[in-house]
Structures are given as structure tokens and as C-alpha cells.
């Protein structure tokens, strides 16, 4: 099998699928041409992410990465969520094939985009968003910064 059991579990039974009405932040990355788009919604109370949902168009690992990323940040503070890396997403999934590493990057970036949206709407600044460029092309299929 191409994927780990953990990836298949998150793909077949994704956690936190859907959307949040009146979300405090929404982030969308990827593009249809490349075949993957991730959208993450967050609900924030104080500095805590109290709810998170996602919708993803993409392959099995894109859906699994979205699912795991939402699980990892549920209930976390904004600063904790901003510290999430694609490496953590991969580890949590028990590994991804090298050609699928970009799916974990998309998950990290979708989350950052959602928090950026929240920060912008509320005129807030977060250390983890310093140097963050929402218009940057997050969609780098060649990213293979995985250490074996």
C-alpha cells in the first residue's frame, strides 16, 4: 500500500470536515490546476482555537493531512497553532511518500492563512506570522524537506 494505516484512517474517516458559519478566520491554499485545494475555518475565543473545520479537494494524502492538522490544533492557542510544521503533520500520519510531502506543506499553509485572516480582521499581530506573505505561492510540489 502506498500509504500508512494512519493516512488511510484519516482519509477514510476524516476528522473535522465541514465549515464553520461565521468563522473567525478562513484560509484557502492550493489551486485546481494542480489538483489540490485546502480550506480551513477557525473559531477563536480569547487566544484559543475552540473549533476548526476543513474542506479539501485533493488526493488521499491531502485529505488526511488536512484532517490531522485540524486535530493537532484543536483547542490550542494561536501561538501554539502557528508553531505547527508540516513535519509534525507527516509524523502524525506515520510518514508520507516523498511525492506527497507537499500535501503536508499545504496543510500548514492553509492553517497559517486562516490565522492570518483572523489576525487581519481583528488587527492583531502574532509573532508566528512575521514575514508571512498571503500571496506567496504555497504550492511547491518539489518540497521534500523531510528527514529520514
Amino acid at each position: 500500500m502506498l500509504y500508512t494505516e494512519k493516512v488511510m484512517d484519516h482519509f477514510m474517516n476524516p476528522r473535522n470536515v465541514g465549515e464553520i458559519e461565521n468563522a473567525d478566520g478562513v484560509g484557502e491554499v492550493g489551486n485546481v490546476k494542480c489538483g489540490d485545494i485546502m480550506r480551513i475555518y477557525i473559531k477563536v475565543e480569547g487566544d484559543q482555537i475552540v473549533d476548526v473545520k476543513f474542506k479539501t479537494f485533493g488526493c488521499g494524502s491531502a485529505i488526511a493531512a488536512s484532517s490531522v492538522a485540524t486535530e493537532l490544533i484543536m483547542g490550542k492557542t494561536i501561538d501554539e497553532a502557528l508553531a505547527l510544521t508540516n513535519k509534525q503533520v507527516i509524523d502524525e500520519l506515520g510518514g508520507l511518500p516523498p511525492v506527497k510531502v507537499h500535501c503536508s506543506v499545504l496543510a500548514e499553509q492553509a492553517l497559517k492563512a486562516a490565522i492570518y485572516d483572523y489576525a487581519t480582521k481583528n488587527a492583531l499581530t502574532f509573532k508566528g506570522l512575521e514575514g508571512y506573505d498571503p500571496d506567496e505561492d504555497h504550492h511547491d510540489h518539489d518540497v521534500v524537506d523531510i528527514e529520514f
Binding site: K33, K55, F57
Partner: protein, 392 residues
């Protein structure tokens, strides 16, 4: 769990009768067909009998059929062999944009050798235009290579007419018939075919064996050099078990062709119509009538093909897709792009190919499962979201 194999265009199971025919050639009649002793001569005899059997199925004489290590080798040999042997005549080759990689990558290699290649467009149903084909012929054109049936979308080309145009201009015609052989009746003489690639494992025979039909009198170079096998044209000790199995499969396919076609077409149409009836935002790819009897290719909007395949696999259904994620490249299938599908639609493609062991229950179960899976993935997709909200 029930396992439903709907990927016969990728490969077929080897039929029991074929395996039984092959078995003695591993352990009892194992001689090298080039050897002078009895073991060798027995192998030689069955080799020539197999060649004759296969040649008869395409209305060719045995001395025009050469065994190869498979369809890709046959494609490589036809193109490289003919172009290199006919440099004096010209350096131009015409093919189409929807060929198998066995042809397309061989063309790329030939371009590096200095040959010029024209890649013809196809229409939305995957058909090559005969007018465009004829217009592409120059005084440098040596060979036209157009596939008989496309492996992804199943479209069948007007092979006989293509051959006629080629011959009118003194150009040779090769066809990759790997998907067609055993699924449509082929007569190389009647269809104006000069060279034709075929393969064993697509017709319920073994893998690693194929062949190239080369009409008598055609100048062609060898690509596999070595011993004097295959009348000095293709070196290497003959794969006798493979050849025997290929011949058995070819004869069985030929004898059963009409019933096979009838059954496949019935199930294909039931599957395709069933899916199109219950799943909206879907596009049936390929030609409506001129197509492989077992090929169904459909794009489902708003979802991605690999996710579809994994979900089907979880239900025991085996299919394939032209999405980028299944090809390991960034682009979806070159065939789907060539028929004009935008990237996002091509990413959601599914090929289900039916074969001799497919049942009506398999088809019904697949339609039901697919309906569920597509709905589940769409509800997860931000693209479908937009559609729901806009109420399109």
C-alpha cells in the same frame, strides 16, 4: 470482502487454460529452441506452431510475425527500426498526441537522433482527423504511427482509412494494437497495416511477451542485437512458455471474439449509463460508439482521481485514473488534456475497464459504491461547496 477487478486495460488475469498449456514448457519441454538436440527441436517446433497460430488471427503469414518482450518493445522496434533504416527516404514521422508512452517516449528519443515528429491533435472524442493527417505528410515522411484503440479513453481510430492515406503517399503505417488485439477483429491486409504491436498480457495471456507484425519487404533495423533468433531480427533465447501462453490466449480470444465483444459491450453500457444516470456533474470521455468494448472513462467534477481510487479500493473495487496524483507527475494524463479537458476536470477521471470475468452484479455494486463515494468526496470538496451555494 468481495474483490471486483475493473482494470482489464492495465492487465488481465491469465486464463486457466493458458496456464495449463504453458506449464509443461517450464519443466518438461525446456530446451533452447536454437539447440540441435531433441529438447531444442521440440521447443523450436512449438515456437513455430505458436507463431503460425497468432499470425492466422490477424490474417498474416507466419514469417511476418516476430516475438518481442512485450508491447513497449514492439513499439520501440517499429519506430526506431523503421526510421533508422529509411534515413535515405526521409526523416519525418507522424503520430498523435494520445499515443501510449511506448510510442511518445520513443518519438522523443528519435527527435534527439535528429528525426522530426508531428504530433497530431485529436478532437473532443479522441479521434484523429484524416484531413489533418494527410496534410501533415511531406516528401520526408517515412512512417505514420497511430494507435488502434486508446488505452485510457477507449477511442478506436479509423485504422483502415489511415492506412489507405499512408499508402496513397507511399508512407508506411504502424499501429499500436495492444488494446485492440483480442477485442476487435484485425486483418492486417484488409486494414492496410504495415506494422502492428501486440501484447500477451492484455488478452488473458502472460506478461513479458508480445510481438510485432512486419509486412514482408519492409526495411527495418534491429534494436536488440545478439543471436540469430527470430530470423536474425530479434536476439535473445525465446521465451517458450510465454510464447505458448500468448498463442493459446490469442487463439482463444479469436475463437470467442464475437461473444466476448457482445458481453463486454452490454456490461460497459450498463456500467456507463448506470453511473451517468445516478451521478450528476460527470462527463463520459471518449467516442460514444467507436470505442473499446470494455472501456468506461468518466470525469467527476469537484473531486480528485486518486481519492476516488483509494475509496473504491476500500470497497474492493479496482480501477485507474488519469489524475496527476496517480501518475507521479504534476499534470493529469496527456490523453485527457489532448481531448481538451481542463486540468481540474482531468484530475477527477476514472477508468473502469471490463473483461471476461466481470459480472452484472459487479457492475451494479460498482454503480452503487461509486455513487456513495463521489457524494462523500464532494461534500468534502471546497469546489462543490461553491456549486451548492450558487445553486447551479
Amino acid at each position: 470482502m468481495k474483490q471486483i477487478y475493473l482494470d482489464y486495460s492495465a492487465t488481465t488475469p491469465v486464463k486457466r487454460e493458458v496456464v495449463d498449456t504453458m506449464l509443461p514448457y517450464f519443466t518438461e519441454i525446456y530446451g533452447n529452441a536454437s539447440s540441435i538436440h531433441g529438447f531444442g527441436q521440440e521447443a523450436k517446433s512449438v515456437l513455430e506452431q505458436s507463431r503460425k497460430s497468432i499470425a492466422e488471427t490477424i490474417n498474416a503469414t507466419p514469417d511476418t510475425f516476430y516475438f518481442t518482450g512485450g508491447g513497449s518493445e514492439a513499439d520501440n522496434w517499429a519506430l526506431k527500426g523503421v526510421m533508422r533504416a529509411n534515413r535515405k527516404k526521409g526523416n519525418h514521422l507522424i503520430t498523435s498526441k494520445i499515443e501510449h508512452h511506448g510510442i511518445l517516449h520513443t518519438c522523443t528519443a528519435l527527435e534527439k537522433e535528429g528525426f522530426e515528429v508531428t504530433y497530431l491533435d485529436v478532437d473532443a472524442e479522441g479521434m484523429v482527423s484524416l484531413e489533418a493527417l494527410e496534410a501533415a505528410i511531406t516528401d520526408q515522411t517515412v512512417l505514420i504511427s497511430i494507435m488502434f484503440i486508446n488505452n485510457e479513453i477507449g477511442t478506436m481510430q479509423p485504422v483502415k482509412a489511415i492506412g489507405e492515406i499512408a499508402h496513397k503517399h507511399g508512407v508506411l503505417f504502424h499501429t499500436d494494437a495492444v488494446q485492440a488485439y483480442g477485442n476487435v477483429k484485425i486483418d492486417v491486409n484488409e486494414m492496410n497495416i504495415d506494422l502492428m504491436s501486440v501484447s500477451g498480457h492484455k488478452i488473458y495471456g502472460p506478461k513479458g511477451i508480445g510481438g510485432l507484425y512486419i509486412k514482408k519487404g519492409i526495411r527495418i533495423q534491429n534494436i536488440i542485437e545478439g543471436g540469430a533468433q527470430e530470423r536474425n531480427r530479434r536476439a535473445g533465447t525465446e521465451n517458450i512458455p510465454g510464447i505458448v501462453g500468448f498463442a493459446k490466449a490469442a487463439v482463444m480470444a479469436d475463437e470467442n471474439l464475437e461473444a466476448h465483444r457482445e458481453k463486454l459491450i452490454y456490461l460497459r453500457d450498463k456500467l456507463a449509463n448506470g453511473i451517468m444516470d445516478v451521478i450528476p456533474y460527470a462527463k463520459y470521455n471518449g467516442h460514444p460508439t467507436e470505442r473499446h468494448p470494455g472501456n468506461v472513462n468518466i470525469c467527476f467534477e469537484f473531486i480528485e482521481g486518486e481519492a476516488l481510487l483509494l475509496s473504491l479500493n476500500a470497497k474492493g473495487i479496482a480501477g485507474s485514473s488519469g489524475s496527476a496524483c496517480t501518475s507521479g507527475s504534476l499534470d493529469p494524463s496527456h490523453v485527457l488534456l489532448a481531448i481538451g479537458l481542463p486540468h481540474e476536470i482531468a484530475h477527477g477521471s476514472l477508468r473502469l475497464s471490463i473483461g471476461d470475468f466481470t459480472t452484472e452484479e459487479d457492475v451494479e455494486y460498482t454503480i452503487e459504491s461509486l455513487k456513495e463515494i463521489v457524494q462523500k468526496l464532494r461534500l468534502m470538496s471546497p469546489l462543490y461547496d461553491k456549486v451548492l451555494k450558487e445553486g447551479k
